[in-house]
């Protein structure tokens, strides 16, 4: 099934139902469908061809949701980009997958205009929050480079609200989702409509989602966990209450009570902040049917607290990676007996553990690498045949490919899975995947840096915090503040080191690499 049908079908069934709540805005399925149709016509009129890329670079909001469905309806491919990424990385992504159209905000344009002006493939930039008056900062730089800048509202008004013809079939790409690779260069995960429909269907099945669900999500739409909240809500004709980000626990709890939220997608950092609210038990949580955790292990202490607070809610501990969206979930009836397990393969897929020799681990055992098979496995990384070959291998049938997760797991006698470690050195912090190399590359841009190593240190709120250990060249000086300021200009905020240590020399291994183990 094509993903754009999710919105169209729900708009047919329940046109007046409120589909999306975002701040003061409450948008019905009819309104969203009309806007997405009009914007799809606009994309076509601006020259978007079948399977060309449309990037979205903005905070969570109706414009991003409409932009996603408009790209699909126009037979294009959407590329959600974290609004926290800095100009250079946005430009890298735009160039890497040859984005033709970019939907952003006035702030996004101000941040990135100069870098975007140099992107050859980019032709049009659409600003969701510009009313068309005055000249937004950065627009001049883009126009000088031959690119057009548009306000969203007049484009919507100028085009029909009925769907354009769409030749897409479900084997076509729906999205490219960029993820950190261990090399420090982001890679675009290629997902077809069939991939994403398979994942969304499997997840809504085990969550027992229903059309009267109200999902409260503060997760960014650029993060697949956040993106799927929209897809799953619209697939069922449910309601999504979308927050820009998780900032104020009290505000979130008030919204939860006011909207009678039934589903709470969480990551451990958000869970920590919520459980830190002193009068949490006095808040009205009675509407909650289920709570989910992924991105980082759900601490057992959190699970116990949530069980006490919400004895009738289903609590799901899950594990996944962008390359197939979701891998495993623990059936909620097992949460008290096996709180540290992430359970079993999601419905319609299978997983197994292989030892070093590639043999399948039967019965209780491991650790070994977890392998995934199913219709949700990505098509590969955009333009990265070597990295794709490392991650996907031929499967049982000629058209099939199996996903090597790069994660080590063990299983108990019932076949329930337990995460052990990652095989590469990616750091999980606040639910985000960070490549130490990407941070180190930024540090090496500073002339005073002779050597740098980035590693994880335990952190109560973030799970892991990022630490930089830096040796400065003789005769040069570098303060922690200068180092951080540079990182903030170059990297997403969650990648910026929380701790910095200066040392005279970094220890090296016999082969001349930096010995990170000695630094930990």
């Amino acid at each position: 099934m094509r993903l754009d049908r999710y919105l169209a079908d729900s708009a047919d069934r329940a046109p007046d139902k409120v589909a999306l709540v975002c701040g003061a805005e409450r948008l019905s399925y009819r309104t969203l469908e009309s806007r997405a149709n009009a914007l799809a016509h606009a994309f076509r009129a601006l020259g978007l061809k079948r399977q060309q890329r449309v990037a979205l670079y903005a905070d969570n909001g109706p414009e991003v949701v409409v932009g996603i469905f408009a790209a699909l309806k126009a037979a294009g491919v959407f590329v959600p980009v974290n609004p926290l990424v800095r100009a250079r990385k946005l430009a890298f992504i735009v160039e890497d997958c040859e984005v033709r159209l970019l939907v952003t905000s006035m702030r996004g344009l101000r941040e990135a205009a100069e870098a975007l002006a140099a992107c050859g493939s980019l032709e049009h930039v659409i600003l969701g929050d510009w009313d068309g008056s005055g000249e937004p900062a950065g627009a001049q730089a883009l126009r000088a480079a031959g690119k057009c800048v548009h306000a969203l509202a007049p484009l919507l008004a100028a085009h029909p609200a009925i769907a354009p013809p769409n030749p897409t079939i479900e084997l076509d790409l729906a999205a490219l989702i960029y993820t950190s690779g261990s090399t420090g260069v982001p890679k675009g995960v290629m997902l077809s409509h069939a991939n994403m429909h398979a994942a969304a269907s499997s997840i809504t099945e085990y969550l027992r989602s229903a059309p009267d669900d109200v999902i409260l999500s503060p997760l960014p739409l650029s993060f697949d966990y956040g993106l799927y909240q929209v897809l799953m809500a619209f697939r069922l004709g449910a309601r999504l209450v979308l927050e820009k980000q998780f900032l104020y626990p009290y505000r979130y709890l008030e919204l939860l009570a006011a909207e009678r939220a039934t589903g709470l997608p969480l990551v451990p950092t958000i869970s920590t902040l919520l459980l830190g609210v002193s009068d949490l038990a006095e808040h009205d949580l009675s509407s909650v049917r289920y709570l989910t955790n992924t991105a980082q292990a759900f601490p057992e202490a959190h699970i116990r607290r949530w069980r006490e607070l919400l004895p009738n809610a289903r609590i799901y501990s899950m594990y996944g990676l962008t390359e197939c969206k979701r891998v495993a979930y623990l059936p909620p009836e097992l949460i008290d007996a096996k709180p540290s397990s992430v359970g079993i393969a999601i419905p319609g897929t299978e997983v197994w553990i292989e030892d070093e020799a590639g043999a399948v681990v039967e019965g209780a055992g491991g650790p070994g690498e977890l392998i995934v098979r199913g219709p949700h496995v990505m098509l590969g990384y955009w333009n990265r045949p070597e990295e794709t070959a490392r991650c996907l291998r031929p499967g049982r049938y000629p058209y099939e490919r199996e996903l090597r997760t790069g994660d080590l797991f063990r299983q108990d006698a019932d076949g329930h899975l337990y995460f052990v470690a990652r095989r590469d050195e990616l750091i999980k912090t606040a639910g985000e995947r960070v490549a130490p190399r990407e941070v180190e590359n930024a540090l090496y841009e500073l002339p005073a840096v002779k050597a740098a190593a980035v590693l994880a240190v335990p952190d109560e709120l973030l799970g892991n915090a990022i630490k930089a250990v830096v040796a400065v060249r003789e005769g040069m000086r570098l303060t922690e503040q200068e180092l951080i300021a540079h990182c903030l200009k170059r990297l997403e905020r969650f990648m910026v080191p929380k701790h910095v240590a200066f040392v005279a020399e970094l220890p090296v291994t016999p082969s001349g690499k930096i010995a990170k183990r000695e630094l930990a």
């Binding site: 900032l247 505000r251 950092t269 902040l273 002193s278 009068d279 951080i484 300021a485 903030l488």
Partner: protein
């Protein structure tokens, strides 16, 4: 109660030093939203909270940790003034 000009100065300096890492050129007007500008995220809010509690010896209740009190320099100044006046 704190001198309102001094208070404003202290809060601005904190935002420049700790949230903008010394980048004074990126400082916003006092009425602008720190969230909209991308200066504050969920851990940033906690940094502001800890600063207020330490610097002004305030005790901030969970229910006071809302954008009306925290999301701009103006809101922060007004919030600290209300709290210290009440104390």
């Amino acid at each position: 109660m704190h001198d309102s000009n001094q208070l404003r100065c202290d809060i601005r300096q904190f935002v420049i030093d700790e949230l903008l890492m010394g980048d004074a050129a990126s400082m916003l007007p006092d009425g602008a939203s720190l969230t909209e500008a991308g200066i504050v995220n969920s851990t940033g809010v906690l940094e502001v909270l800890m600063f207020l509690e330490q610097k002004f010896a305030l005790s901030v209740a969970d229910r006071e940790l809302v954008p009306e009190n925290f999301d701009s320099i103006d809101n922060l100044v007004a919030f600290v003034q209300r709290k210290t006046r009440a104390a």
